[in-house]
Amino acid sequence: MLKYSLKRLASSVLTLCIIIVVVFVLLRQMPIEGYFDNYEKLDEFQIQVKLTQLGLNDPVLVQLKNFFVKLLHGDLGTSSRYSAGTPIATIIANKAPVSIYMGVWSMAISLIMGIPLGAAMARSKSGFWDKFGTAFIVFINAVPSAVYYIFIQTYGTEALGISMLFERENWVTWILPVFSLSLGSTASYAMWLRRYMVDEMNKDYVRLARAKGVSNKKIMMKHVFRNAFVPMIQYIPASLLYTICGSIYVESLYSVPGMGGLLVDVISRQDNPMVQALVVIYSGIGIVGLLLGDILMGVIDPRISFVKKEGAR
């Protein structure tokens, strides 16, 4: 188990390094015009001075080495254009908490709504809840989220009489963005749970449990639900960590000062240090999320063994 985890950790670090190198090298291929506000007005000398200042005239390998050395010291660098001169860590520290809180809340809510919905759908297969849930899932997946986000904002603020804009200290203004964010994952939790539960319900061990006299309710709780939840657990760490990325739509609709859209923003402004830092963070999160998910699965599902089998069945 420990050995497996360490091995996975090592390969994760390697993956992360490869991603960083690729992004780093690609960013160096960008036209240099992007680094200047007033490129046309500058002469060659001024341009070279600025580029040297930014460290862009060093060989790529040297730049890469400098970046990694700084990274290992915990320094993500400073923003060059997005908010020139500010340490990137500060920018993220300011923006991330809102996104994380909002994401965690919305995830909690989608679990609270999605899991019972999925379970109810599986239990009442082709009954009311199943039809209701299917309609909901189809709606959420078929209609572009921007559409219902706007509906929720327009009618929600009107009905509840709350402000359209987000204020960090006013919890009422959290309701609509958090709710909007939770809808998508509510639908997918419900869909997957239903699917896994229906799969489990048709298995022989459920028939055997019935034959030995376990009540339907207990079968659902102790056998079906539990077993159906296991494959879903794998994705929970990743979704939890991904909340840091925020949501472009929702955050811009309610003017939430979060991380949503930050990456797109800094790419379009060619703020290389920021792009690199965010790539490190986002891909790191993705990799760690998957890793945690796999380890969690291994802890929960006894069929997954981390030791090589010696030909035994």
Partner: protein, 347 residues
Amino acid sequence: MERAPILQVKDLDVKFNLRGRQLHAIRGVSLNLYKGESLAIVGESGSGKSVFVKTFMGLLDSNGWVDNGHILYNGEDLVSYTTERQWLQVRGREIAMVLQDPMTSLNPLKTIGAQIIEAIELHQDLHGEKARQEMLSILTDVGITEPERRAKQYPHEFSGGMRQRVVIAIAVACRPQILICDEPTTALDVTIQAQILKLIRNLKEKYELTTIYITHDLGVVANVADRIAVMYAGDIVEIGLCEEVFYDPKHPYTWALLSSLPQLGVKGEPLYSIHGTPPNLFYEVKGDAFAPRNPQALKIDFEKRPPYFEVSLTHKARTWLLDPRAPKIDPPEAVRKLATEGVKGYE
């Protein structure tokens, strides 16, 4: 037979609703199950043998129902049971079941110990340490060595035969009166089959069980059964003591079934097989259900359903051949050979 029946089935009809059409799966079956006996129900796939026993436990799929008839057990008519609460008094506690495929009949995420304890807690009113001790003793009973260690393992750590032992342990842990084994050895390889059958026989003695075997393997039947009921197209066409059905079969379907035993085949000749397919139970069957596949069928076989004719006190068959007016038709050669030479080759 003097013994009192433990379970009586009377004129049972079971129907299924399949895409708006009705399938008549069990067509007026009556059966007495006697305490302590071992009954085998044989028949080909789709003959309704599994469905028949499922009705004893209220385990029919949701699209099936008992249309008519009674199942009397302990003075109660199980057909009248409607609520889950009523059935929970029967399932496991009175009648337990061993399913066909041990590879899938255990919950993969629970230790086998926990799965056996679940049954013990439900039916024996033992809890905690006592339940655990009972579980260990049952594991020993079903021939699992090192029960302490094995109980903590998960199903995937067991081989097929061992898993079937665990499934049997679960059934026994319910302390049932009747044990239904639904093709208990079909999914196992031949060397294990005999062991499992022997195990069930031993447990039957030890726990004084009445057993019902469902199988299409006549070799299994010869080994374990006191009585045999032959099912065809949702009906018991012949029932009798094991020797009676094997050595003096009366129904043409039983003849055909026995003739297709590989043990009776002659080396170098193709094995006998029954031509045609069983009747479509979406339509009402007219006459003897086997008539269309029976080359020697009588005219009346196509017109009127035969009643049971008693061959002896314990042996009866639903075939017009037993009517005094019927022409004399001899059973096929293989069956006659069986009567004189006996079954060999099993166990």
